[in-house]
Subunit: 428 residues, 2 copies
């Protein structure tokens, strides 16, 4: 068995087709998509990133969409309805069976960022009064859904009454009642209004195979499988990674040039504002820059050291917030640690840069100025790297998306300001 075999093994399955679509430039992608059957399209479409999904839906006729949604889970149909114009959505609903219509409408009651939208209805549910033999017979009569590790117990009103593992059913003797089997104790019961971000956080701590979803009245609505939770977790990680560069997590590798250019222009414009702010600060020191040109030569070093040190603290804090490792109870301890790290590195690099600058420009006082500015900027960077993401998180703004812009603004401004103002004071 080698790599070759592994990839052969996974070819032709929907996830592999989705991967191939996402790896293809626009023209190849359209060709590949057109070559799929309605059934394949129905299996593949829910696996694609939103952006690509939307572009395919735009170029598909209403008739074809309804034949594609025929092959989809209700939650995925709901997702398609969300992405198409209202009249197309109505047409899709009209083509559904009564049972599916109800499930799709139930999905649509929830926003697309909460558990309720994405739950599956394929859980094996049984009454507690059934015997082991009856349940095994029931399981044999249906097709056991993948990601089934437990059977969910309900009463006559579909109230959730706990779960027993498939393992304990298989191991028990035939005539026992399910109520006599041990209930699963470390189960993650989810609320349909739980956000996907919280789902990812729960799943990070406990990798469940499946989790029941129960509403506030105790009624079992469905389940979330590990499979779904992994996708959510991946999306969260992708989002965080892409957001750090101001990119949308759905950003398509081969998005049309105009769409990409427009999106990135916004980010560049935002960064331009902070760059102009930094330039404005520098502009206040034109007089001293004309006199001591060494300040102009060295000033990027001060800003850059602050930016790099700050982004390290920022990254650690953003990850700590995402993993729920960081909370109000331990922020103070982290501040102490980060200030300690910043002080040590501040002193080391202040001395190093100070000595180098002194020799380069044969001016010991210039070394003192740049060393002090670096120390000030590294300590500022530690405060900013810690408090900017914590504050943004409190304001419900994604720290991964806007943290680095705000941080760079602070370290640039403080870097230039401290270096040039001390220069103006001590070098004339």
């Amino acid at each position: 068995m080698n790599e070759q075999n592994i990839s052969e093994n996974i070819s032709a399955i929907p996830t592999e087709i989705a991967h191939r679509l996402e790896s293809s430039p626009q023209d190849v992608r359209s060709e590949l998509w057109d070559s799929l059957s309605a059934e394949e399209k129905g299996e593949v479409l829910p696996l694609l990133h939103e952006e690509i999904k939307e572009s395919f839906l735009k170029r598909t006729t209403v008739d074809e969409i309804t034949s594609i949604t025929d092959h989809m889970q209700p939650s995925d149909v709901a997702d398609v309805i969300d992405l198409v114009p209202a009249e197309v959505g109505q047409e899709i609903v009209d083509c559904l069976s009564e049972a599916d219509k109800k499930l799709v409408e139930q999905s649509l009651e929830f926003a697309d960022d909460v558990v309720g939208r994405w739950l599956k209805h394929d859980a094996i549910t049984v009454s507690r009064n059934r015997t082991v033999a009856q349940v095994i017979k029931h399981i044999r009569s249906i097709s056991l859904p993948v990601y089934t590790d437990k059977v969910l117990l309900i009463d006559s009103k579909r109230h959730y009454k706990g779960a027993v593992t498939l393992a304990s059913i298989l191991e028990a003797s035939d005539n026992l009642l399910l109520s006599e089997l041990p209930l699963v104790t470390d189960i993650n019961v989810l609320n349909p209004n739980t956000s996907l971000t919280d789902l990812a956080a729960v799943f990070r701590i406990k990798h469940f195979i499946s989790a029941p979803v129960v509403d506030s009245e105790g009624v079992l609505l469905g389940r979330i499988t590990g499979d779904d939770a992994i996708s959510v977790l991946q999306d969260e990680a992708d989002r965080q990674f892409m957001n750090m560069a101001g990119l949308d997590e759905d950003s398509d590798l081969f998005a049309p040039v105009l769409i990409s250019a427009k999106r990135r222009a916004v980010w560049l414009g935002l960064n331009l504002l902070t760059a102009f702010l930094a330039s404005f600060v520098i502009g206040q020191f034109e007089a001293i820059l004309e006199q001591v040109v060494a300040l102009a030569v060295l000033m990027p070093i001060v800003a850059s050291m602050g930016g790099v040190a700050g982004s390290q603290t920022l990254t650690i804090v953003i990850r700590g917030l995402a993993l729920k490792n960081l909370h109000s109870g331990n922020t103070q301890s982290l501040l102490k640690k980060e200030l300690g790290v910043a002080s040590i590195n501040g002193v080391i690099w202040a001395l190093a840069v100070g000595v180098l600058a002194s020799f380069w420009f044969s001016d010991p006082m210039l070394g003192v100025v740049i060393g002090t500015a670096i120390l000030i900027n590294l300590i500022t960077a530690a405060y900013a790297g810690l408090f900017i993401p914590v504050l943004l998180d409190k304001l419900n703004i994604d720290p991964a998306l806007s943290g680095s812009v705000v941080l760079t603004t602070v370290t640039d401004v403080v870097g230039f300001l401290s270096f040039l103002s001390m220069g103006a004071w001590l070098l004339t």
Copy 2:
């Protein structure tokens, strides 16, 4: 059910204890660790990040370590042996049962970044000649391991002969032979030498519940469960995110100050080199900077726009490489797209900054200079953002770790050089 209930449900389980340990400052952490029983320690230790794991092992006596490893899976014992001094490792091995000793030694034959080290030995394996009734009886006699979705078929020499799903066994009639049941076709058979990075890539495309591990002679060695694969995937995502800021993925939120300071000093030092290189470039233009101080005021804008645009391309390419969406067959298409995006944004922002700078310093030629420099730097950034990570990846250097330093060096140097040299040429 609300958030409260969810977190109560997961308290007291090992993953939750591990999470609490990782969220605690050093002193609280030590106290919590000391309060655990040997069994709890055995369950929790394998879940901790390497750095924390090592610090606990350092402060634990040999006797206690052997009582902790008593409660561990063979692969986790192998991991502990890797982290402790050789004589302690020997003592751990001596305390194992003969069967466990063999499994631990088998694990240790593999490096800790390949599948062979981490496989589990709890797969349900049966001969193809058994009947469905016999297998069900066998399953009932043992405790069904979690993450079991299939039964693996072997011959008398433990050669892997395919797999049948638990579902198809449950649905089949009692007297059928396993060889008469349909084999699973879309299975991911892993090689013990497959790297964890490749495992993550395979798992990303296909979220398997369990996958058999088979050596080059076709012998079944064990299995990897979805649970393990999720951890690997998470670690890969964490590593990528942390590496972008030059941090180790194991970086402990509450690592001791001295250890953190030392590690980050290396990264700051590396960045200082690139900052000095940029300063050296600026230093070549002292004469013109003294004459036209506006160049000093505006030069950070050129460098910063290039850096931001480049890091967007860099991020997209790093993600594309990690998801295996990008390969030699489509790099050319991506280059075309990125150059298109860079040209459009280059022209837009060249005009915007050019006009603003012209008015600010009442010098139209200055606007032409900065506009042209920005256009040049954005196009350079697109090339650099694409080819730096692709090249690093080919050289087996992690592009997430070193890509941004190299990129910033390029955009800083090209930014300052183009802006100042054109300034020297056109503004005197």
